[in-house]
């Protein structure tokens, strides 16, 4: 991995290409959950163009993936700001194609519970549950302490659990 980024940093186009292929899916999904599927392709392309321009500034302080998602996060935020849309709209990342019930949790109730989460809680939930990032990576991406990530996730899930239990009841 490191050797691939090193080669890309030294201007190897093939290494850059491989790097893009390797991370494209992750970045695309990350962007799609934030700006919607329609704008995701354009934003993702901008992310990789930015990566190409600034890859020489990557210093291995965090994983390459985290660094790349940091760029994606900025692009997505700029896009949302330009489109005057709220951040992490629920329909972009939680929209079951058909209503379901999983272990006594109804999708409609869960959707309602997720919609009531605060922005901070929603952010860590998406980053961890859907983007698959570890606590350390989330802390690095959001520039917050790891303990805060842990705390936000705990409170977010407690909130969801309370709401879902209430719904069942």
């Amino acid at each position: 991995m490191n050797s691939l980024t090193d080669k890309a940093q030294s201007g190897d186009p093939e290494a850059l290409r491989k790097l893009v292929c390797e991370h494209y899916s992750q970045v695309f999904k990350f962007c799609a959950r934030r700006v919607g599927s329609q704008a995701a392709a354009d934003v993702t392309q901008e992310v990789f163009l930015t990566m190409q321009q600034s890859i020489k500034r990557y210093e291995n302080r965090s994983s390459f993936s985290t660094w790349l998602l940091g760029i994606a996060q900025n692009h997505c935020r700029n896009h949302s700001r330009k489109q005057k849309k709220s951040w992490l709209q629920l329909q972009n990342w939680f929209a079951p194609s058909q209503p379901f019930e999983h272990k006594a949790i109804a999708s409609v109730v869960l959707q309602e519970a997720l919609g009531k989460l605060s922005d901070d809680h929603r952010e860590v939930v998406v980053l961890h549950e859907l983007d698959g990032m570890t606590y350390t990576e989330i802390a690095s991406l959001l520039s917050i302490p790891e303990g805060t990530v842990k705390s936000r996730l705990h409170h977010a899930f407690q909130s969801l659990r309370t709401h879902v239990n209430g719904g069942i009841a």
């Binding site: 869960l110 549950e129 859907l130």
Partner: protein
């Protein structure tokens, strides 16, 4: 303990905390239930998440292959409007533009340049005191003959290339003047004015004096002056009328002719009229003399003497006028202006630091003025570019929304 359940589920706890949670889970069934619920929530979130179809990889790879133009903004319509505004403002600010720099600014810029080039000063030709004096004399001359003699024969003012024969003076005698005094020689008062740029004022001044004497004349008046840039000399010389052209020709050889003019006045008719009146007055005087001899009464004698005295005064006045005119026709007047330019080869000495300081200040002032002027022009041009920019902005905004 509840706080660590989610982290335990996500495998984000250290071994010690993990062991503590496992122990608590074994002891507390409610905790286990909560853990199951958390896991169910995680699974439900994942299950209900939006299905995302990955697209655009090829397009991204293609875009990466192309060298991204960092100056894409240059192609934007805003950049075009900005560039056009800047060009127009530049032409309005620069001295090339019609709106151009005001004369004061241009002079300032010239001063700036002159400071930088002060070591090689060149003085542009300017009107010297001698020039000014000669011009005023010529203008006075142009007025006097018309007022006194009432006969304007004509004048001629031309540059050196147009100078020529005596006929070229443009002297056109009145048609009746020659017929009135058949056989009388023509009486012409000639005046000349010549401005010369000479190499050495002293020697040229002396040469003009000698020239006047050599041509049967004299120096009527003369003066010399000096400024930081030039030395000036002016002379008024009288020469024999017959040698007027010869004298002018000799004067031209003394230096570079800057300007030249001459005028002529035919006073033949005036003198002839004066002589006719003189003859008549003498006849009257003679008749009064006869009457005086026959008068016997004292009152008659006094009366006749008074008449004789009056007519004598008129006779003498007319004789003086005739004599003066003949004298002026005999000796022509030439006004000669001389100028010697002083060559300044070096500027006042300053040390390099002072020179650099002055140059830097002048440049700073010049650039500042230019920038301020440029900015003002852009502001003034706002009625032209602002609507275009606003229109573009609205258009692009609508296009983006679509």
């Amino acid at each position: 303990m509840n706080e660590m359940l989610k982290a335990y589920l996500d495998n984000e706890l250290n071994a010690e905390d993990r062991a503590a949670v496992e122990k608590a889970l074994a002891e507390n069934p409610e905790l286990q239930t909560e853990l199951d619920q958390l896991q169910a929530l995680s699974e439900a979130i994942e299950k209900g998440s939006t299905q995302i179809q990955i697209t655009g990889l090829e397009a991204t790879l293609s875009a990466l292959g192309k060298k991204r133009n960092r100056f894409a903004w240059v192609r934007s319509p805003y950049a075009l409007v900005a560039a056009m505004t800047c060009v127009i403002a530049f032409f309005m600010t620069s001295p090339f533009g019609s709106g151009g720099m005001v004369a004061e600014e241009a002079a300032d810029m010239a001063n700036t340049a002159s400071v930088a080039e002060s070591a090689k000063m060149e003085y542009a030709p300017s009107e010297s005191p001698a020039d000014a004096e000669a011009k005023s004399r010529v203008s006075r001359e142009a007025e006097i003959p018309q007022a006194s003699a009432g006969v304007d024969i004509g004048s001629d003012s031309k540059d050196k290339s147009l100078f020529g024969q005596e006929e070229a003076y443009g002297i056109k005698p009145p048609p009746d003047s020659a017929s009135l005094v058949p056989g009388n020689p023509r009486l012409i008062i000639k005046n000349g004015n010549i401005q010369l740029l000479v190499k050495n004022l002293e020697s040229s001044y002396k040469a003009v004096e000698d020239l006047a004497k050599a041509n049967g004349g004299f120096v009527e008046s003369g003066d010399r002056s000096k400024t930081t840039q030039s030395k000036y000399g002016s002379l008024s010389i009288r020469v024999d009328s017959k040698k007027f052209d010869q004298t002018m020709q000799s004067l031209r050889l003394l230096g570079d002719v800057q300007s030249e003019s001459n005028s002529g006045e035919d006073v033949t008719a005036v003198v002839a009229n004066a002589e006719a009146r003189l003859k008549q007055m003498r006849l009257e005087e003679k008749q009064y003399q006869e009457v005086l001899k026959q008068a016997k009464k004292v009152s008659d004698i006094l009366e006749v003497k008074r008449y004789i005295s009056e007519i004598r005064q008129q006779i003498e006045g007319t004789e003086a006028q005739i004599k003066a005119m003949r004298g002026m026709a005999t000796l022509s007047t030439i006004y000669v202006g001389l100028e010697e330019r002083l060559k300044i080869t070096s500027a006042p000495r300053r040390d390099w630091l002072s020179n650099s300081w002055i140059r830097a200040i002048n440049r700073f002032t010049g650039i500042t003025r230019t920038l301020v002027s440029f900015a003002l022009n852009i502001v003034i041009l706002a009625p032209f570019w602002l609507p275009v920019v606003i229109g573009l902005w609205i258009w692009r905004r609508r296009a983006t929304k679509k």
